[in-house]
Subunit: 366 residues, 2 copies
Amino acid sequence: MGTARGACNEGTGAPFTFAAARVKPLPVQQGKLMTQYDVLCIGNAIVDIIARAEDDFLRQNNIIKGAMNLIDAERAELLYDRMGPAVETSGGCAGNTAAGVASLGGRAAFFGKVADDTLGDIYRHDIRAQGVAFDTGALNGHPPTARSMIFVTPDGERSMNTYLGACVELGPEDVEEDKAAQSKVTYFEGFLWDPPRAKEAIRETAGVAHANGREVAMSLSDSFCVDRYRDEFLDLMRSGTVDIVFANEDEAKSLYQTADLETAREALAADCRIAVVTRSEKGSMIINGSGAHTHVDAHDIDRLVDTTGAGDLYAAGFLYGYTKGMDMEACGRLGALAASVIIQQVGPRAQISLRQAAIDAGLIRG
Amino acid sequence: MGTARGACNEGTGAPFTFAAARVKPLPVQQGKLMTQYDVLCIGNAIVDIIARAEDDFLRQNNIIKGAMNLIDAERAELLYDRMGPAVETSGGCAGNTAAGVASLGGRAAFFGKVADDTLGDIYRHDIRAQGVAFDTGALNGHPPTARSMIFVTPDGERSMNTYLGACVELGPEDVEEDKAAQSKVTYFEGFLWDPPRAKEAIRETAGVAHANGREVAMSLSDSFCVDRYRDEFLDLMRSGTVDIVFANEDEAKSLYQTADLETAREALAADCRIAVVTRSEKGSMIINGSGAHTHVDAHDIDRLVDTTGAGDLYAAGFLYGYTKGMDMEACGRLGALAASVIIQQVGPRAQISLRQAAIDAGLIRG
């Protein structure tokens, strides 16, 4: 436990078997197999448009609170007309995780589809400027880059309204096999089951990753998303396509259609090698396949501003620690710290250096 | 003192003389001349792109710290390439002031030129969603909506790099005379002397305002801007085109080319009816033409995050109070409060209700 399986490929110089014939040979440097990236993230490339709103606004506009509500172009226009003054920031769950890993000092890459437009330019700039390798080709023409209108209520909870736009065009042709082969962990979001062909890209990437001795992680993303794709998500776990699962409490319960967290915990232990259940201010629970589990406290905060990106940044902290060989509890603490930073600001991309925050908290050495 | 001169037009039902023949008749409701707006703001309509940077970055890129650096399209591209992950928010000095007045519960209008593009849509949405009347026609085609890349250093100071884009097309044809006639105060930014024809729009608007018994205010904007247009700014004041002047300490000193604040204070008292000099943590000084001046302390803050918009929001608070008939000290306190809110967040548009903040601080009644 606590050491990324993929990491054992580093420095062995041992001959390497390519399970899938179509996987390109990896670049070899001084006899070593290169591990170019700690974490490869795959997700919907979305620009967030964030505004404050009262709970009444959500009710009046039939927005499910705390959820990711999928919307079409017409509803996007309607909601934007009704939305208050907003700020724009790059977002998207897995993109946030990639940015978080990079902010912690990890090596991250990202696959996701933007369009060749202003929001797409902003998205590409922000993720690259954070040091994340991002080379997915932009879509020419319609639909435009995805946007999510996020309403943050006075309790800090975020309710997302996502127009998928160009994300619907992500497909297996966007898989960069060298990055999948050279990343210790490939991490993707369950939201990728919404666009039509992204799941094909995921299955292909996971195949390349496993063929190269790497690990695959996923986030269950949203309890309604779990409800839409429960059987497929369970199959991903039970077939071994996914090794590590991130879920919040609602998602874990939704997956197994239970109101009881213990039931969900036991089922998760049976279905995947590592599962992490985040529980907001109650902390998080790290479960391994042997049934053991570790509790990690939430990190203290001064003031809850906006929960957007909390789960994504927890995953970033956890995966950074995991790919650096830290033990489960240390991974969870880094996740809790990164989440605590992000919920004290507006938007899901850290406005301060997470690495510095982790050093200041004594969780990593400077 | 303390009562907007324009306000005396309300409720008199007196016959009204139009000094300029081309001024359209004002709508009259139940025998009263309508005062539709408290403050009409005119300025460059700019989307801010804000990122953190170290002081070294400013030096390496020849960015004058704390200033507004004008840049062309080529340099905009170069700096964006070098800029870290950013957030986008509507900005522009006078636009920020309009948004601030509206957030305080005042009635605000805005003139400014965006292009018919994504950033222009964002700009129009944000200012209208704040309740500001904004109807300036968008520019079709090139150049695109203005943007300012703002680097915030660890001390919280902002250094702006502005590509004026569509703002260069603002001209007298964009003056909505009814709004100028119906606003208690017309407020514009000195930065409008950079684009070629905006000054014509200002002179025309000021003429309409004064012809309708209203007042005209300006911000000196930036000490380098003052250096570019010193004689014209002094002429605006001395000719009575401008009644109220907002300046920070550097701008006031630059205007009179003196290192001595007292010298600047005396000159301001001679040159305009009311002058307000903001002095960051040292508070502000309100000077009237009779030579009397009032000191107002800065409002306490917990943590300085980003000074972007501090002066703009001071003006918003001051002008809100002024158009509501408050005394000078109360106006200054509202300005200090609004500025204190804005420097504790990223970006120049308040993410909380300024009205609520002013009520909580006991400065206005709920």
